[in-house]
């Protein structure tokens, strides 16, 4: 490969076309900056939404007189025979009593005995499947009321209203952020591609001449692709630098004090940087290579 030659050609083009090159680089910088801020925000939002959704469970209350054998049988039923179940947590009446007593000691002391039943907390594989789990455990009978599939089960409860609210709200939040993210990515790619296109358009005569002298398409294209990569790398690196300064100066001190900023799982900063840099280089290189195609038809 004539890599050295292509690299020199790319550098020459950068130098000779300083203004359009600078414009392309600035475009990359701005878009990467916006994406760099927006991606963690999207992730934090979806992370928070998912966390809320993770709280969607169904409680399977057993009858107060259920024996150990009943408990074991229902546990098996839940774990192995019910579809869409991710995990089952057993809370014995004693555990429940202790937990509740901590909350309101006086009330439970007044009661004296333990009125609480044994409970299974069933987490569905997907929050949206909570209804299926409930229907599997306590199908709607012919008369409209609910029956249970095991005689030891007293009631299956999933706090229907709350669950539905959680599910619909988080769905809207996730969808909105996803659409916003997609739009932003598309806008970034178009913006970069357009800037590159403009700078190529100014040089289309040059490309035509190269073609007439007998240069192959890739002989002409490589310097442009390398040029795009250099611009993308430069713009991306500057943006990442700004992001890092922003993170260290603003986010980190805030995160130490406010749990809200620190809590949701956002992407690791290193990974974020790698993704942004890779994307800016890739998009610029591909933008250059593809935009050139029109001008190569000589």
């Amino acid at each position: 490969m004539k890599l050295g030659f292509f690299l020199r050609e790319a550098l020459r083009a950068l130098k000779r076309n300083a203004v359009p090159s600078f414009a392309a680089m600035a475009t990359v910088l701005v878009t990467v900056l916006i994406l760099g801020v927006f991606i963690p925000v999207v992730q934090a939002t979806t992370g928070a939404a998912n966390e809320v959704r993770g709280r969607v469970i169904a409680n399977v209350f057993l009858k107060t007189d259920a024996s150990d054998r009943d408990v074991a049988r229902v546990k098996n039923l839940l774990e192995n025979e019910t579809p869409n179940v991710a995990s089952v947590e057993y809370v014995s009446k004693e555990q429940a009593y202790r937990a509740e007593r901590r909350r309101d000691k006086q009330a439970y002391e007044l009661l004296g005995a333990n009125p609480l039943p044994d409970t299974f907390r069933v987490t569905p594989d997907k929050p949206d499947n909570i209804g299926k789990v409930r229907n599997a455990l306590s199908p709607v009978g012919p008369g409209g009321g609910r029956t249970v599939i095991d005689p030891a089960i007293d009631e299956v409860n999933n706090r229907e209203e709350e669950t539905n609210k959680i599910l619909s709200i988080t769905r809207v939040v996730k969808l909105t952020t996803a659409v916003l993210a997609a739009l932003l990515v598309i806008a970034s790619v178009l913006l970069i591609a357009n800037t590159i296109r403009l700078s190529l358009y100014a040089r289309r005569r040059e490309v035509e001449v190269m073609k007439l002298v007998g240069a192959t398409d890739w002989f002409i294209r490589w310097p442009f692709v390398i040029e795009g990569m250099l611009l993308g790398a430069l713009g991306g690196m500057l943006a990442v630098l700004l992001l890092a300064v922003f993170k260290i100066a603003l986010i980190d001190p805030l995160a130490a004090e406010y749990a809200l900023i620190a809590a949701p799982d956002t992407m690791n900063f290193g990974v974020l940087i790698a993704v942004l840099l890779g994307a800016s280089i890739g998009v610029s290189a591909m933008g250059s290579g593809l935009s050139l195609r029109r001008f190569l038809r000589v």
Partner: protein, 287 residues
């Protein structure tokens, strides 16, 4: 006044002969590729057009059943008013467009058999000079000529060796590091000729090479093409400068509305004349 014109003609000839020798070394007999012929090819022709027609999408006729053959070493003018099909012929020969009918062979090779991907490799065997020079604006004279070698994968040593040589031949030794916008039209056209010839192609096409130049500068360019022709390179020049053509006394193919109306062979006397005699005749100072 470019340098080469002031030198005695034997200096220029010496340079030219060196080129001929080098060419024989670097192109040891390129056999034309055998192509299946629908019509018997003219043996040994460099260019052969057989019933070539070109109709543009707009309905205009570029060429109408044109047939002619050019033998190696010939110097041929294609003349005619604008719109007569000169440029169409040139564009067909460099495979910028495709004929609607007929076959074109260059060095025995049917151009319709060259795929889009192979066109660049085909063009490397041609030198082409354009009316508007088509130089790379951001490169110096040296770099412009070097680009034609870089395209073919020429090594740096090859470039260092050949480029100054060809620039000396074209009288541009003092302008190596000028950019095209710092040169006069004549000088730019010399760069264009140098670039076309640096690979020593067996065929050189020139489309209105003097169209933008004043008569005296035009003579310089013609002289250069003449000298290149003397190295054995076939030269085809499209022009509407009838006065110049008449003085040159070479083979003339005249087109009118896409058809050949005249095909005159060169007088035998012209072949043996020196560059000096040639120049004198062009200037109208024939002894």
């Amino acid at each position: 006044m470019p340098l080469a014109d002031e030198l005695p003609s034997w200096v220029a000839m010496a340079a030219t002969e060196r080129h001929v020798r080098r060419r024989e070394r670097s192109h040891p007999r390129s056999e034309p590729l055998p192509t299946p012929a629908t019509r018997p090819a003219v043996p040994g022709a460099v260019i052969e057009l057989a019933d070539v027609s070109k109709r543009y999408d707009s309905g205009d006729t570029g060429l109408d059943k044109v047939s002619f053959a050019v033998q190696p070493g010939e110097f041929v003018f294609i003349v005619g008013a604008s719109g007569s099909g000169k440029s169409t012929t040139m564009r067909l020969l460099i495979k910028e467009t495709e004929p609607t009918a007929g076959t074109i062979r260059v060095a025995g090779r049917d151009l319709s058999g060259i795929t889009r991907r192979k066109v660049p490799y085909y063009r490397r065997n041609l030198g082409v000079v354009y009316q508007d020079y088509k130089l790379l604006p951001n490169r110096t004279v040296y770099e412009n000529v070097a680009y034609a070698l870089q395209v073919t994968g020429g090594s740096r040593r090859e470039i260092r060796e050949k480029v100054p040589d060809i620039l000396r031949l074209t009288g541009l030794s003092l302008k190596l590091h000028s950019r095209p916008d710092q040169l006069s039209g004549g000088e730019q056209q010399r760069v264009s000729v140098a670039r076309a010839f640096v690979n020593h192609p067996p065929l050189l096409l020139a489309d209105e090479p003097t169209g933008n130049l004043d008569p005296e500068t035009s003579i310089g360019i013609m002289q250069l093409l003449y000298r290149i022709n003397k190295t054995g390179t076939t030269v085809v020049v499209a022009t509407h400068d009838v006065e110049m053509v008449d003085k040159m006394r070479r083979r003339v193919i005249e087109l009118s509305q896409g058809a050949i109306v005249r095909d005159e062979q060169a007088g035998a006397y012209a072949a043996r004349e020196t560059t000096r005699e040639f120049t004198l005749r062009l200037r109208g100072e024939e002894s």
